[in-house]
Amino acid sequence: MVLQGSFPLVKITEVQPGIFDATLSAPQVAAEAQPGQFLHIGAPGFFLRRPISICGIDHKAGTLRLVFQIRGAGTRALAGAKAGCRWDVLGPVGRGFQLAGPEEEAVVVGGGIGVPPLLEAARAHRSATAFLGFASKDAVILEEDFRAAAQLTITTDDGSYGRKGLCVAPLEEYLAQHTPGVIYACGPSPMLKAVARLALQRGIPCQVSLEERMGCGVGACLGCACAIRTAAGAVVYKRVCADGPVFSAKEVVFDE
């Protein structure tokens, strides 16, 4: 059930330059929300809503946590909101992660601002291992949260924090020693493609969360298309908002 309404911000703080951690009081939406789903949020003065992934779900408090980055004028307008301001929210939207049982050993792989939706997925498993990659030290987010939920490895492209390089490298080393029950991934397309390849080679179920420029958010407009290979081998366009944003890695056709 998708709801639309105006919900107040409990708090919003800039956790890294241009990256904001917001808590929204939306009990009806929080009650329905699943890990991997997102909210479609109206930015004041902009025509289209902005899809922002759900980072944390607190059923008891009736709140949702969103960690998002200023990517353009619309997200800049959202980031300008103060506690007590209301956001026009449509949600929860989409099909989130198909969570494997809590006993399954899980691996989450995130890149940059693709990291937030993985937090609830990691928390859903008794044992989780996280590989999170960021551009540099001042882009690292959610370190303490992931450390509490998973065995954490952080990489940065420039080596300014954690291990230098891409997060796929320690993932590959890990997979040489371990065979987790499931891999969840979200991040830039080249990263997802590399993670999907590693998972497929080893026969590990892998789910990837995609993003695309989006219109309605309810599946009607067919704006947010992603290429999916069907069981029969045909390539078709599915809707990131309604059929995703999470897809099985083996069916996603990544850009060449």
Binding site: M1, L48, C224, A225, V235
Partner: protein, 303 residues
């Protein structure tokens, strides 16, 4: 008596607010918000004879007060529509309009023939899609071809036939007259205006199709002007669309000459938009003491 009821080409609408083609899928995507039966009608996603995968993404770009799209008529094809979607669609207590598109006269005629024995209430002939290479707008930018495709479909259907015009033409009135002369029972306008956005960092167009159709409040004044021009030149009813997002917009469009309106992109921001427009029109009809909303159709008093 229902003050909002309108009749277009013999089809009774409980109110003059119709969900625009391409913005409402096959009628099932907004059911979480309100019963779709609240709407006067639904113009279904544009359909072709064969399945179409549509254009590669990105298909959407935001603009000031609007958006560009280049979906490219992604649809399952008329036969899959009939088997997979029509049974549920035809149960909806609202006017169902099939929006149809082809790549040549035969494919337009074939899809009309395929829908002839269905409970579809009305056809909307799409000769104005800006996002497909052959067909679509190519049929809507020449009087002769617009007339030919209208004639081809008219011969294959007994259903009320509405022709949806492209605004990307020099003289929309001449196209409207041409399709009226070939038996169009109604005319709807406007489809989207061809536009383009460029990412200055990558120097790439934002849309993978390079260009796409502009919709949203940005196009509203263009739509009002074209509806006014066409409604003044033809005797068949006109259905107005393009950037309507409030009941005030709907009143303005009807005063320009529209017997009903379609709402599209505004629903992407507010899924309740069409319901709010209907409620606004109800209040307006009461306050203005209208016996019927039809009284305002074409009521503009031009200077």
């Amino acid at each position: 008596m229902n003050k909002l009821a309108v009749n277009i080409a013999g089809v009774e609408f409980k109110n003059p607010v119709i969900a625009a083609s391409g913005c409402y899928g096959f009628g099932m995507d907004y059911r979480d918000f309100y019963p779709v039966e609240r709407l006067g009608g639904i113009s279904l996603k544009g359909m072709t004879y064969e399945v179409r995968q549509g254009n590669p993404p990105p298909r959407i770009a935001e603009t000031p007060a609007g958006m560009l799209n280049s979906v490219g008529l992604q649809n399952p094809g008329v036969k899959a529509f009939k088997s997979s979607y029509l049974p549920a669609v035809s149960k909806l207590d609202t006017v169902i309009i099939a929006n149809i598109a082809g790549h040549d006269l035969d494919s337009y005629a074939a899809i009309a023939a395929e829908l002839e024995d269905t409970p579809i209430d009305m056809l909307e002939l799409n000769i104005s899609c800006p996002n497909v290479k052959e067909g679509g707008a190519a049929f809507g930018t020449s009087c002769d071809i617009a007339a030919a495709v209208t004639r081809a479909v008219r011969q294959k259907t007994t259903k009320p036939l509405m022709v949806k015009l492209s605004p990307n033409v020099t003289d929309i009135v001449s196209i409207a007259k041409a399709v009226e002369a070939e038996g169009a029972d109604a005319i709807s306008l406007i489809n989207t205006l061809l536009g383009m956005r460029i990412d200055r960092k990558t120097r790439r167009p934002i849309l993978k199709n390079n260009v796409g159709g502009l919709s949203g409040p940005a196009v509203f004044p263009v739509a009002v002007r074209m509806v006014w021009q066409v409604a003044g030149a033809v005797s068949v009813p006109v259905v107005g669309m393009g950037g309507i997002s409030t009941w005030e917009d709907a009143v303005e469009m009807m005063m320009a000459g529209a017997s009903a309106v379609q709402i599209g992109a505004a629903m992407f921001r507010d899924p309740y938009c069409p319901v709010k427009v209907i409620e606004g029109l109800e209040r307006y009809a009461e306050e203005e003491r209208l016996s019927s909303i039809r009284e305002i159709v074409g009521a503009v008093r031009p200077w």
